[in-house]
């Protein structure tokens, strides 16, 4: 009965079978949208778009959702998700800005300045940093960075000044941003370095021949040529930064506070929550109907941001293909 399978496949059959397999990924995406949206639906049907706004304490709203009945009334879905959205934007935004600056500088270092052996050693270093599991970064963050910040950078006076609102332990915006930056910099560096490597040598040489120093030539010609790749790298790094759940949950402090810039230095030490870390934090209570719907609504928001960023980075990279600068 398996004889037919053992024979070499005809072209037609191979094409159909492989095509069917290839469609599985597309089907997975559709299923993902359907399932997440379906479970998030009660939240949006009860709360509408004001769900995205701000108002009240998120922590107490979430706590009120625990132990509601099996068929919760519409009022049980009350939640204002802005603190989480703000936390997500804040951490991802800072991390991407710092990460972009560092990875641009590193890429220039590798291409223009590093002596050959150093440049060659950079590749495994970057690969290592990119492949360290996030939970290990989180562990170092919570066991090393958080106590360091809490004991050395925050003064007793600062702790006392806000003691009636929040507790400053060291876990908060600063440590979250530092760890996220370390996590996303290697990816951006690899992408930008690769793109720079695919710029034809002669373009750079031409610029040097016209009297630019090698650095200026890189900035004026090579970096400019791969601008789309830089934007795409930043988009992918942003996707990773907003989706990072475990690390932020470990190092961002105990509650869904919104760090306030007008607080001065304390701003950087204030705790926060992001959409992804709140999902991890509340995963134990996921059987509560109202809370479950809210959690899936957080996931829906994350999912669409992720989709937008990957489609965006695909569109942005398109001009590069014309010059065969992208693979």
């Amino acid at each position: 009965m398996f004889d037919r399978l053992r024979q070499p496949w005809s072209d037609d059959r191979a094409e159909r079978v492989l095509g069917a397999v290839a469609c599985l990924t597309a089907i997975a995406i559709v299923l993902m949208v359907v399932f997440v949206a379906e479970r998030a639906w009660p939240t949006f049907s009860h709360e509408g778009l004001s769900w995205l706004g701000s108002g009240g304490s998120l922590d107490s709203q979430v706590n009120a959702m625990v132990n509601t009945s099996a068929n919760p009334p519409a009022s049980a879905f009350f939640l204002r998700a802005w603190p989480l959205i703000y936390g997500t934007l804040l951490t991802a935004g800072f991390a991407v800005i710092f990460g972009l600056a560092i990875s641009l500088a590193t890429a220039i270092f590798i291409v223009d300045f590093a002596p050959r052996p150093v440049a060659r050693a950079m590749a495994p270093v970057i690969r290592l940093l990119a492949s360290i599991p996030s939970v290990v970064y989180g562990l170092i963050g919570i066991l090393v960075l958080v106590p360091f910040v809490g004991n050395n950078l925050i003064t007793q006076g600062e702790k006392a000044s806000v003691a009636n609102v929040i507790e400053l332990t060291g876990a908060g915006l600063l440590v979250s941003v530092v760890i996220l930056t370390v996590m996303i910099t290697p990816i951006m560096t690899a992408l930008i370095t690769d793109a720079l490597g695919s710029v034809p040598r002669s373009w750079h040489e031409g610029a040097v021949a016209l009297g630019l120093n090698p650095l200026r030539a890189t900035i004026a010609v090579s970096l400019r040529a791969v601008r789309p790749a830089i934007i795409a790298a930043a988009a992918l790094a942003t996707a990773r930064a907003i989706g990072e759940a475990i690390v932020i949950d470990m190092v961002s402090g105990g509650n869904a506070f919104t760090p306030k810039p007008q607080d001065g230095v304390i701003f950087f030490f204030e705790p926060l929550r992001t959409l992804a870390s709140e999902i991890i934090d509340q995963s134990e209570n996921i059987s509560e109907p109202a809370l479950r719907s809210s959690i899936y609504a957080f996931a829906l928001l994350l999912m669409f941001s992720g989709f937008m960023l990957s489609i965006g980075s695909r569109l942005v990279r398109r001009p590069l293909r014309k010059y065969e600068l992208s693979n």
């Binding site: 070499p8 191979a14 492989l18 397999v21 290839a22 469609c23 990924t25 597309a26 997975a28 995406i29 993902m32 399932f35 997440v36 379906e38 500088a105 223009d112 300045f113 590093a114 440049a119 060659r120 950079m122 590749a123 270093v125 970057i126 690969r127 290592l128 940093l129 990119a130 360290i132 599991p133 996030s134 939970v135 290990v136 989180g138 562990l139 919570i142 066991l143 090393v144 910099t185 290697p186 370095t193 720079l196 490597g197 695919s198 120093n213 650095l215 996707a239 990773r240 989706g243 990072e244 759940a245 470990m250 999902i279 991890i280 995963s283 899936y296 996931a299 999912m303 992720g306 489609i311």
Partner: protein, 333 residues
């Protein structure tokens, strides 16, 4: 993108520059000198961070890593001396790696072959490519929570088990493994696709000229020469699977010990819940309930060794450069 050969190393990594230019930095403008200093700082800073992490984890790990930890099961205890080792998480990590890679690799290779070698209708190929990029851009927490909703469908009860209330629990090695394969898929796909595109057209034409069909060409000409690319992609995917925590916490139950669903040898284990090294580290960090930093350091050290080993394999196996390998995955999380 067509015809760009993957090189042994990206040209950028080994720039054939003259020596004279570097000595002329003194003559540059102030701003350029500043960038020069910043670039060196950033480059060496990254090396320093990587070195510090490895050395720190090495020191802490070796201090707390007792060979006994590797062969004893974890148990609930307040005292770190009595909370056991991480045999179960180690087995869990291994199971996840095998399951995820076994599912993802064939899927990714077949998809890549179809997209490059057939790819008709054109719009469908574009949809497939976009879908894979979307999967790559989806945070693993979203994949995890989607998996939870999916495997709680009544019809999918065989993949996990029914909880006491009658609802499907939706958390098991099988459920987590299938979702893990989504993490590895884009990495393996991109590596395979780039490998296929790098094979010269003439090689296919020669095969056609000898009377082979397209399908036979794929099987006996293209796939054998793709082995290094597939191995690179699969290893990168393996790295992501081993390092993912969110899927384990949400979809594997992250129980302290691996608890088989029933006594059926393999299936009962796969339908049951368990933990991996990542969830074990999370559990034992101050953020988790175990709060046993010594155990967490020891487990993190073991996990780092696994990741270093995988990195070493990627470096050995891959024909493409290190940066390109990362690029192939777009995002080795």
């Amino acid at each position: 993108m067509s015809g760009v050969e993957p090189q042994a190393l990206p040209a950028s990594v080994a720039p054939p520059r003259g020596r004279g230019r570097r000595s002329s930095v003194r003559g540059w403008r102030r701003g350029d000198q500043l960038i020069f200093v910043l670039a060196w700082t950033a480059g060496l800073g990254l090396c320093l961070v990587a070195g510090a992490i490895v050395i720190f984890l090495g020191v802490e790990g070796l201090r707390y890593l007792d060979p006994k930890l590797l062969v004893t099961s974890p148990s609930a205890a307040v005292d770190q001396a009595h909370s056991g080792g991480f045999l179960d998480p180690l087995i869990g990590t291994l199971t996840m790696a095998v399951l995820g890679t076994l599912i993802a690799t064939p899927l990714a290779v077949l998809t890549a072959v179809w997209v490059v070698e057939y790819g008709r209708p054109h719009w469908l190929a574009a949809v497939v490519e976009t879908s894979i990029e979307m999967v790559a851009g989806t945070p693993d927490i979203v994949i995890a929570i989607f998996g939870l909703a999916f495997f709680q469908l009544g019809i999918l009860a065989p993949f996990s088990f029914r909880a006491s209330g009658g609802g499907v629990y939706g958390r098991s090695f099988l459920a987590a493994g299938i979702m893990m394969s989504l993490l590895a898929l884009p990495l393996t796909y991109t590596a395979t696709r780039n490998g296929l595109r790098a094979i010269p057209r003439q090689q296919r034409e020669a095969s056609f000229a000898l009377g082979k069909t397209r399908a036979a060409t794929i099987r006996s000409v293209l796939l054998p020469s793709l082995r290094p690319d597939i191995a690179t992609g699969a290893t990168l995917g393996l790295g992501r699977i081993v390092g993912s925590t969110a899927i384990i916490v949400l979809l594997l139950g992250a129980t302290l010990q691996n608890s088989p669903q029933n006594s059926v040898p393999l299936l009962g284990f796969l339908r049951g819940t368990g933990s991996t090294l990542t969830s074990y580290i999370f559990f034992n960090s101050p953020a988790g309930e175990g709060n046993a930093p010594q155990k967490a350091y020891a487990a993190a050290f073991v996990l780092l060794l696994i990741v270093l080993g995988l990195n070493w394999i990627v470096g050995r196996v891959s024909r493409i450069g290190a940066g390109a390998a990362l690029n192939a995955g777009r995002m080795a999380r």
